[in-house]
Assembly symmetry: C2
DNA sequence: CGCCTAATTGATAGGTATCAACGCTTGTGG
DNA sequence: CCACAAGCGTTGATACCTATCAATTAGGCG
């Protein structure tokens, strides 16, 4: 059962995620208009769904606190992860075209989202061009995100895919004010593998390989990046050499 | 050098692609407003680019006649195909978020596109809610297209990927009033392979395999679908059996 | 008609999946 | 506080799929 907070909960002005969210670049007047249509937040516990594929589409969401995975069901029972979503990132945009959600969104940890009723957002966009442009940018950004991932999946080895994933996650954490070197992975090896098109055993092997090369330090879900340059080189396709003798 | 046609060229009302284009579901008054901002069409010869990655973003486009591929450059010189686009389908939406085009669009045959100046479209969307919603649906549709392809790339074998590709292309041709069984491929094996994450030799082998199984008939770029059910079964993951003895 | 590119087919190598076993972490209850 | 169970993660051996390299054939354009 979702928890609804009254509209009196703190608005976008106070939000830590604002610089990376829909509210980015809005002036105070426009921000107030946006705040007015975001009437509630919702809490989603770890493992629970925010919405499921084929649910009627009414709202889009912005992750406020926590993180989510999105899944597409896949003929039989197999679930394909299509993305991990951090604070400030939008959820539900894929539901606009069919009036039903096309994927399922599940919280990776106890999380809250801002509920944005889509018809109200459309009204606001007709009145406030800055808001309109921001929505367009957000949707365009999702399209670009998709084609990047497409490229990664179509053209890169498992090693490169994982390097891309780690560097990308690191950058997204950095923008949010977290350390780019200390990753606290909220998802399992299997979920990572699903997104990246490989099996969980392969994910694990690549982690071990990177650790042997002193690129990262892996401690289960805690990953420490030791060598950004090295990871970037792998990301760009420079094949890693065998490990040189380590200094003491 | 692009050819520009005057605004007097036939508008969306007469367009064969209208049912699958931005103009879908618009009333006559709204259609006239859209026609008014589409001031020109542009001809792009086979192999030429409509726009290139990093070009300043001013317009989106709708394919009027012909077809395009979109590419992302890939670190070094490698080009990754991210989509094939038929009449009525949008081009350039990925440029909104950065004010620059994120990919390169190249005509697969002599083609024409409708030029839609994006600032004018945004203005129109603020006035005409049906137009606004249509734009949102179109962008959402692109997001869904991306995540579907992502799923195909992440989870399917080469055989299934090609089956998905053929069935998808067939459906898109059918909607446009062409025979769903007679595919005239405008792209090379290599370009198909790039989109689908496999090498051109593998594409070729899969074509031969499908032909042996009497699912399709391949004659270079002319492909005839003989057994939609069989292709769909492969698409859904039912492993194809060895060929039964053929009649006569 | 001939050149050049695209496509097909074969042989082999390499990367990742699969199957299997073990170890670690986490949470629960005595 | 410790014992135990269950799930997650790691590692190894092997098989399979697809890439790679190579040779040949077909097709398209000047």
């Amino acid at each position: 059962m979702p928890t609804l907070k009254p509209a009196s909960s703190p608005g976008c002005g106070d939000c830590r995620a604002r610089p990376v969210c829909l509210a980015r670049d809005l002036g105070p007047r426009e921000l107030a208009r946006l705040d007015a249509i975001i009437q509630a937040r919702r809490t989603v516990k770890r493992g629970e769904s925010l919405y499921r594929a084929n649910d009627p589409f009414d709202n889009i969401y912005a992750v406020h606190v926590g993180s989510f995975k999105t899944l597409i069901a896949h003929g039989d029972g197999v679930e394909q992860v299509t993305g991990f979503h951090l604070s400030g990132e939008p959820l539900g945009l894929d539901g606009i075209c069919t009036e039903r959600h096309n994927c399922t969104a599940i919280a990776l940890e106890d999380s809250t989202v801002c509920i944005i009723p889509f018809p109200l957002l459309e009204s606001l966009c007709r009145e406030v061009s800055a808001m309109q442009h921001q929505v367009h940018r957000m949707m365009s950004g999702e399209i670009v995100r998709g084609s990047r991932l497409m490229m990664v999946l179509a053209a890169m080895s498992a090693e490169r895919r994982l390097a891309v994933f780690l560097v990308n996650l690191s950058e997204r954490l950095k923008v949010r004010g977290y350390s780019p070197a200390e990753l606290s992975l909220r998802m399992s090896r299997e979920e990572m593998g699903s997104l990246l098109g490989m099996k969980l055993e392969t994910v694990s092997r690549m982690f071990s390989k990177f650790q042997q090369q002193r690129l990262i330090n892996v401690q289960g879900k805690q990953v420490q990046i030791l060598d950004f340059g090295g990871l970037s080189r792998i990301e760009r396709g420079c094949t890693s050499l065998p490990i040189a003798a380590a200094t003491g």
